[in-house]
């Protein structure tokens, strides 16, 4: 009689030997393991946008900071470290104004520009309110498309955007410059209308008459600068500090060409954010005009308002790029050295508060050392009271007054020398505002 066998599941499997596996078995198991692929050979690097700074105005474009999704959460007033912003398209140009931001993409789709933040002067165009179709939004909390009156919307590309205190400029490749926002000083390039209400306005002005194609637009606090392909500079807007550079201190409502020391000079870059302006020529000279109360132009003149462009004779080498802030200026030379002058936290420790002559910031503060001798600063940018520098390795250094967390270091204290901002990616470009910053970043892999 054969006894009933226990079911095979209960029996201990005696086919495998107990005990540790030998080296050969381990090797075989390793070779038989599956291989995972996380990134292919042709994997592209992704483009991302990071924002940080003061968020109550909606300028960061994250609605949950201002109106949290859950009722018990508190709104986030300041975002002290970089926060990723999801965008529909790859953003090629960004600009931060005084409490608002513009993002633009060089796509041929209909929607090319998005805006968020303060809209009390229609600096983001007319944002139709969903609750009341006749009214517009005063604060835009997430990147909303700005409808532009283009003739050929599916062919024109937006090259660059720029924001001032309450107005914004959008540069296209074939349809000139579009201006929106406050025009009480003529900064939008159209005639000043008495008692005009700028909020909820549908008006977007188009500027086309320049000597050649406009290649760069820059907004100062209440004025606008246009640089054309031929190297000429046009200006319009408020001129009480001489920032229009037209030889008088009045308002200009039509873009007019600048003369003075830049007549005939091929200008390759213009910069402004407050009331002082700088222009760089192709030969490496720098010209300045505008407000000089903070010793920005004190090397050539004692007057505090300069209304004609003056050449600044600095012996620091050929200048590649310049950036103007509210009280301080920064330039970058061909060798990759950074020079600062003006007033405020300039980046050379707490002892250097003001200087009329450019002082160099030592390259070792940007990561240069015997271990890494080929680190160079590639770009410099300026906000109202802080500075930013981008190296060729894609690292972002900031310094200056930390107004409402705009530096992005994670701390609330002012930074007296260049400090690295930890961004999860290689920073391609950065835009500085009064109390917030936006950066365009490429992922590592």
């Amino acid at each position: 009689l054969t006894g009933t066998r226990p079911p095979p599941a209960l029996r201990r499997g005696l086919a495998k030997a107990a005990g540790p596996r030998s080296v050969r078995q381990l090797r075989e198991a390793e070779e038989a393991a599956p291989v995972f692929q996380y990134a292919g050979k042709a994997a592209k690097r992704k483009d991302r946008v990071f924002v940080w700074g003061f968020s109550y105005s909606g300028a960061l474009g994250v609605p949950s900071f201002v109106r949290p999704d859950a009722g018990w959460r508190r709104p986030r007033r300041i975002q002290p470290t970089p926060y990723r912003l999801e965008t529909a398209e790859k953003i090629s140009s960004a600009a931060c104004g005084y409490g608002f931001t513009l993002l633009s993409s060089s796509t041929t789709d209909i929607i090319k520009v998005w805006g968020m933040g303060l809209n009390k002067d229609s600096q983001l165009g007319f944002q139709r309110s969903r609750r009341d179709r006749t009214k517009g939004y005063e604060y835009v909390l997430e990147p909303s498309p700005i409808p532009l009156p283009l003739e050929k919307p599916q062919q024109t590309r937006v090259l660059q955007v720029s924001c001032g205190r309450a107005h914004s400029l959008i540069l296209t490749d074939s349809e000139g410059v579009f201006t929106m926002g406050n025009n009480s000083y003529g900064q939008c390039g159209r005639k000043v209308v008495e008692d005009e209400t700028y909020s909820e306005s549908h008006l977007i002005h188009q500027l086309k008459e320049f000597d050649s194609r406009v290649v760069q637009v820059v907004c100062g606090q209440d004025h606008s600068l246009f640089r054309t392909k031929k190297g000429a500079v046009y200006a319009c807007g408020w001129g009480a500090d001489g920032q229009t550079g037209l030889g008088h201190y009045n308002i200009t409502s039509v873009p007019t060409k600048l003369h003075g020391d830049i007549t005939g000079v091929n200008i390759i870059q213009v910069s402004s954010y407050g009331d002082c302006c700088l222009a760089v020529s192709d030969e490496g000279d720098v010209f300045g005009w505008g407000n000089s109360e903070y010793l920005q132009l004190a090397s050539v003149t004692e007057t505090t308002q300069v209304n004609v462009p003056r050449h600044l004779p600095f012996k620091i080498g050929k200048i590649k790029e310049a950036a103007c802030g509210g009280t301080g200026n920064v330039v970058l030379t061909e060798e990759g050295n950074v020079f600062v002058w003006g007033y405020g936290i300039l980046g050379k420790g707490p002892n250097l508060i003001e200087t009329a002559v450019p002082e160099m910031i030592p390259p070792s503060l940007f990561g240069w050392s015997d271990f890494n001798p080929d680190i160079r600063v590639a770009h410099v940018r300026c906000g109202l009271s802080h500075f930013a520098a981008l190296t060729n390795r894609g690292e972002l250094f900031v310094w200056g007054k930390n107004l409402r967390g705009c530096l992005g270091t994670g701390r609330m204290e002012d930074q007296y020398f260049p400090w690295r901002v930890t961004v999860p990616g290689e920073v391609v470009d950065v835009a500085c505002g009064v109390d917030h910053m936006v950066s365009m970043v490429k992922s590592f892999i």
Partner: protein, 258 residues
């Protein structure tokens, strides 16, 4: 592996000048060896040696290992307070991930690595260096708002002078031949397992996986590979010679920092 070598302690006897004889006239002051120093009385000179070790070195790692003998132990404490950097040569292998981050551990995952180029690796290393440089400045506990902090930062002399988590002051790629690669790492307050973890994390950042095959310390503070003694040189003469050569270096470094 790197334990102290066992050598026979040497005995040497010195003849001390004798103290003057007690007593009265007629005695001559003669130099006589003190009886207390006589070898039959005193016994062997070195019965035990106090040997202390410098920074730890793993069983799986190799390289320079600093030992102090006798008075050298006090110098070791001083050198530790100097918080000098150490240099390692770390070898890694792409494509595998193990539980203890080295190639002898249990396999966790295998991944592809054909998308990794030297340029991507250098980018990741630059970011690691950047974040660690920031940690260096933050853990040094210096108030960033002072002028001295600015001047030290310009010269690159800011370092944590107390306890801190491991910080990498410099990292670069020496060789890259996929799947193998070799890095040179300059670090502070680290352990070898931390370096293996860094290799694993580099693999993760590159969307693949990596294990560490070799950790070799090439410099520990002021002591480099040239000062180190090989296994064949673990005898009395070479040890004495090495101590003599390093004395000057150690003294200058201590005076500079402390």
């Amino acid at each position: 592996l790197n334990a102290a070598s066992g050598r026979a302690p040497r005995q040497h006897v010195r003849f001390l000048p004798a103290p003057g004889d007690s007593g009265d006239t007629g005695l001559v002051a003669v130099r006589v060896p003190v009886l207390a120093d006589h070898p039959l009385v005193r016994g062997p000179r070195f019965r035990r040696l106090k040997i202390g070790a410098g920074h730890r070195l793993d069983v799986k790692a190799s390289g320079v290992f600093v030992l102090g003998i006798g008075h050298g132990n006090k110098l070791l404490t001083d050198l530790y307070d100097c918080h000098l950097t150490r240099v390692y040569t770390v070898g890694g292998l792409f494509g595998k991930a193990t539980d203890d981050f080295s190639d002898t551990g249990k396999l966790v995952e295998k991944t592809t690595f054909d998308h990794i180029t030297r340029e991507k690796l250098e980018r990741i290393l630059a970011v690691i260096q950047g974040t660690n440089h920031k940690a260096l400045l933050m853990y040094s506990n210096i108030d960033m708002k002072t002028q001295e902090a600015y001047e030290l930062a310009v010269k690159g002399l800011i370092r944590p002078m107390g306890k801190s988590p491991p910080i990498i002051t410099g990292i670069r790629c020496l060789q890259f031949a996929p799947p193998e690669f070799q890095l040179e790492v300059h670090c502070l307050h680290e352990t070898q397992q931390y370096l293996r973890k860094i290799v694993h994390e580099i693999g993760l950042e590159l969307k693949s996986s990596a294990v560490c095959t070799q950790v070799r310390r090439t410099r520990d503070g002021v002591f480099t590979l040239d000062d180190a003694l090989l296994r064949t040189q673990w005898n009395l003469q070479s040890i004495q010679q090495a101590i003599w050569d390093c004395q000057l270096k150690v003294k200058t470094e201590l005076e500079k920092t402390l």
